[in-house]
Amino acid sequence: MTSNSAPARPPVTHKIDVIVQRDRQIGWMLTIPALLLLIAVFAYPIGLAVWQSFITKNLGTELQPQFSGIQNYIRMAQDGRFWQSLWNSVVFTTLSIIIEFLLGLGIALVLNQAFRGRNIVRTIAILPWALPTALIALAWTWIFNDQFGVVNDLLLRLRIIDSGINWLGNPTLAMVAVIIADVWKTTPFISILLLAGLQSIPDDLYEAHRIDGANAWQSFWQITLPLLLPQVVIALVFRFAQAFGIFDLIAVMTGGGPGGATEMVSLYIYSTVMRYLDFGYGSALVVVTFLLLVLAVAIAAYLLSRVRGSAQATDAR
């Protein structure tokens, strides 16, 4: 082939070559089972929820479905308990993710330094994450117990307080307590994820930056954070989805109390469907929560793609 080609250029062929075509066919064949599974476990329940949300089916209708249009959604807009639980979820998610992220990053930075016994410390650090949440929740319930709890005992001994605090009985303190428990459990997840990212940053970048005249603080902002961005995004998205759907920890520690102060959306939906047997309204709650989650992730993804567009951290070597 020559670049200064003759005037009569060969016709562009649209035929895909055989190898590519065969690869595609095999690709489809291999993904179809997984796609079917995805449809069965995701698309079907969501579709069902959307359908049921336009139906009234509760004890009032003797559990017979009656089409009621957007009645459930109108009811939701006026349902103070729903908005309260949504607000609780937002507060819980935001605070616990921010704290977990900062702590997890700090721990990852420490674990990334070479020191004696690092491997043992690393293993111990992920233990909380490996334990079952229900057990942890029980343990924290006892830790915050107003009469026998460790927290009150410590505070009393240090003479910071002079009578036991009823942690789980006070609306604000109950929220603080569940956030502390959640942070304790999931910080290791973030730190291990970020540690993997930190370890993939080559040392010579830091050395080159030091020779360029950077101090540790500047290297953190100009090298570590931008190159850690992919892991940060993954950690935050995962944690956002998990924290927004938190159920077991809250159910065991406070059951949503006191007086609904820690009732998250997931708990409210659970009660609506399983306790009040209000299937139609429960489905409407699911649909709205689902759409809000999708919206939040989409906004986050959009913002991050813009950040990463200007500071892409990828395969440079």
Binding site: P202, D204, E207, H209, Q222, L227, Q312, A313, T314, A316
Partner: protein, 374 residues
Amino acid sequence: MTRTDPTPTIAPSETQQAMLELRHLNKTFSPSVVPVKDLSLSVKRGEFLTLLGPSGCGKSTVLRMIAGLEQPTKGQVLIQGEDVTHKPPGDRNISMVFQSYALYPHMTVADNIASALKLRKIPEEEVRQRLREVSHFLGLEALMERKPSKLSGGQRQRVAVARALVRRPSVFLLDEPLSNLDALLRENVRAELKQLFESQQAPVVYVTHDQTEAMTLSTKVAVLNDGNLQQLDAPHQIYAEPANQFVAGFVGSPQMNFLTLPCEAGAARLGDRSFPLPPPLSHARQVILGIRPEHVRRAQPGDTYTFEGKIFLVENLGMHYLVSVHIQATQQTTYTLRLLLPSDATWEGDSLQIALPPETIHWFDAETGSAVRQ
């Protein structure tokens, strides 16, 4: 190529001053890992010093101590007469090209090059000016907005060099900057580097295990082995007058022939010939004869030291044949010798009359390995 910025005129006294000086440098990682034992040397303005040695001999460690990335166990590093042993890398006014190039993957080429200037709070106008100069100088103009991942190996190498040049440092440090390039590109870039650093005033310390790079680029070569300086000389001297058997064997390709010969009465015997030895070796019982393959030739009438060689291997190197022969010295001892013959050479059978010109022979003390000159 010319320098675009006017260099200040240098007073004669300043020319003499060592830009970089190492005094009794030692690095001990652990009692058994001592890659640098006791190294002293100095580099003046305009010099190009190469640290040459086999893998693991401590070349990078020396460079990293100069850069301040590694703290010497003992000894001092002086830059422009100032003791910088305990200064952080950023305060030493050196720049370094890493073997991996260590380009910041998330920054554009321009930001990579400008990083040091920005960290030093150099005014933006000057940063832009210097970026323009250096990118023009190295032909990087079209690449300035790209990320390193979108560059070829040769282009990345250039960016790494640009990042070093833009600093206008007191000393340039380069750690095997060519080893990630393919053979052909390496030759081109080597020639470019030579021109480029000849146009700079600041001295260069260049680490390599490639003797061709060392010979072609340097004004001075320091051969390192076992944590010690084996020889510090101009490249042609390293080749012509190696200080010891290690240097003689390490520099030059194909490798120098070494024959351990018995001696008596101040002469070394090889078969029925005897070579008079230089006086310091007159009482030795054994001695090592060294001769480069390119200096062994076919015997001509009038040659004194001629031998019959039995050919057992012929390798075609393109420009030459590398011929390996056995020399039967006595009933029990045979010696192996390799010689280069021109590609148009012909011979019959497997026997070759060869001559060892005495003026090309190197003598080494069999015990210490040091060279003994005539």
